[in-house]
Symmetry: C2
Subunit: 329 residues, 2 copies
């Protein structure tokens, strides 16, 4: 295992200390229990937005804490849910008398721990569950996984909360964005979890994993390596069949790298996905390309499409100042 690491046990804390120093103007890091909070002044009594999940997906979620997005994020150990005490402490730190909204990716551990935290919390709270991974069928026993669409939900509700939207309306908006969002990924290689020290799964030199999860979960199919055009076509068709965008529908197209795929390839994937929906008369009016919801050192990417309306476009464009997304300020 070749990584920049001192000891497996200290990797996360050392990294978060680095993160907090590199972005000291945006966030504060509380090491025990572990959470990151926004330090920018919160002048209005806004709804507090909190997300979290296993580490290894950086910049998700700590990289999205700041003005116009999250108020706090709780990182668990790598690919491991954070604990309820982290979530509770984070919620108490950022609650501003307007209630707390948890944004949770649909994984059993995350869901359970956020539920426990919500029960223990002595203020109103709501939860938006993100399950945008259409590689799995809708009726999958544990539901669909939450993947790269999560940041789109976080950005749009983040802007709404910043503008003073109340808890119930934020929850409804979050559900609406979540339902309008579909993602699917593909791995060219496995990632290597430091504590394990070897690849999570095996892929031959001519194989890819279509529909892979962001922890290296098995996808739809282990397929033969084909051209980028064929790979993108299969993913885009699956997403398109799910969302069924109509002619002229405004959409956000997000191509997300899993960590080890260079930008030159991600923009090529974007070009192919753009052409796919452009041919169908879809209005690709917003875009995001880069490594945002990663899987450590996995080579691969995912494509996410969100059907937008005027309100969502305005909220997507609203100012954001976080470590990983920044515009308008």
């Amino acid at each position: 295992m070749k990584k920049f690491i001192n000891e497996t046990d200290t990797l996360l804390d050392e990294s978060l200390h680095g993160f907090s120093k590199a972005h000291a103007e945006i966030i504060d890091y509380n090491p025990s229990p572990r959470y990151v909070t926004r330090i920018m002044s919160n002048t209005n009594n806004k709804v507090a937005l909190i997300s979290g999940g296993g580490a290894g997906h950086e910049p998700l979620h700590a990289g999205f804490v700041g003005l116009g997005m999250l108020d706090a994020a709780c990182p668990g150990q790598i690919f491991t849910s954070p604990t309820p005490d982290q979530m509770l402490a984070a919620a108490e730190a950022v609650n501003n008398d307007s209630g707390v909204l948890f944004i949770v990716k649909n994984y059993a551990g995350d869901v359970m721990n956020f539920e426990i935290a919500a029960e223990m919390l002595e203020c109103p709270s709501e939860t938006v569950l993100v399950s945008d991974d259409v590689a799995l069928p809708k009726d999958h026993p544990t539901g669909r996984r939450g993947v790269a669409g999560t940041l789109i939900v976080e950005k749009i509700i983040g802007a709404a909360a910043e503008q003073g939207m109340d808890l119930i309306a934020c929850k409804a908006l979050g559900d609406r964005v979540s339902q309008a969002t579909a993602s699917m990924g593909v791995a060219l290689t496995s990632c290597t979890v430091p504590a394990l020290g070897k690849p999570t799964f095996e892929l031959a030199e001519n194989q890819i994993e279509l529909g892979v999860g962001i922890h290296g979960e098995q996808g739809r199919e282990t397929a033969s390596l084909s051209s980028a055009r064929e790979i993108v076509e299969q993913i885009a068709q699956t997403i398109d069949a799910e969302l069924q965008p109509q002619n002229n529908q405004p959409v956000l197209l997000h191509v997300n790298g899993f960590g080890a795929t260079p930008l030159i390839e991600l923009y090529l994937v974007y070009d192919l996905a753009y052409r796919f929906w452009d041919r169908r008369g879809i209005n690709i009016c917003r875009s995001l390309v880069g490594n945002y919801t990663t899987s450590l050192d996995m080579a691969g990417c995912s494509i996410t499409l969100t059907l937008l309306d005027e309100e969502m476009i305005g909220l997507w464009d609203a100012p954001v100042h976080t470590a990983a997304l920044r515009w308008g300020c």
Copy 2:
């Protein structure tokens, strides 16, 4: 070779088409000869800033075209210098009667082709040569390579040009920033150039390449894999010996990923580098962590330090709106 690719020959163009569509509000792509220009209005008659170099280092340089940074970038084929006709066409497209400043990484092909373009250009021009890689000795026959410090030069002169600084002063400022900047990299793995189809160099499972260049050039030493602490210590000591920052010296600390190293590791490297200079009483007042000057799918990173003065700090903080760096607007 596992990559998202259709054909080796079309990769760069397809990727640049994707790039231009994803960032249509910032840049325009001219496919023949190949260059990217800024489309934002240039209200004052500012000096035109142009950079370029082989592709495979994305987001460098096209990702730095836009308000407050470059006016144009000329991408060559992967790891191959762009040609003088690209540079000349780009210069003619963005020249605004205040002269053209070329920012060139010190590689023989780039230097020669930018020189030819400057000679052919019928307007005043100057060149800032960046050679920040201190892995090589100062008296190396071809000089030191230009690496991740280049974007710092581009950002600072970019802001100065935006504020109306003239050509001669921009050139002098660029030289000053360049001389105040030192970088050194380390590779954990080789990259794979698509046209070659196999790794550029070999490293055993327990080996790293200290002082590697951004095209996989041999560094100072093929060393044994050690802890991140030891690796960072060696790099930081080399940079420190070169720049010899004094107590309380304000600096910009940039940790740059080569493309396949996850952010969780880059922030750990940042933490270690921060501690190194903090212990020496250096004032780390600006930071940048992420994949900015990449080497395709190489795992590894570089550390860059720039000694700042008040003027440089102001220019670093000035608004920038490019695909890869954005703040203040």
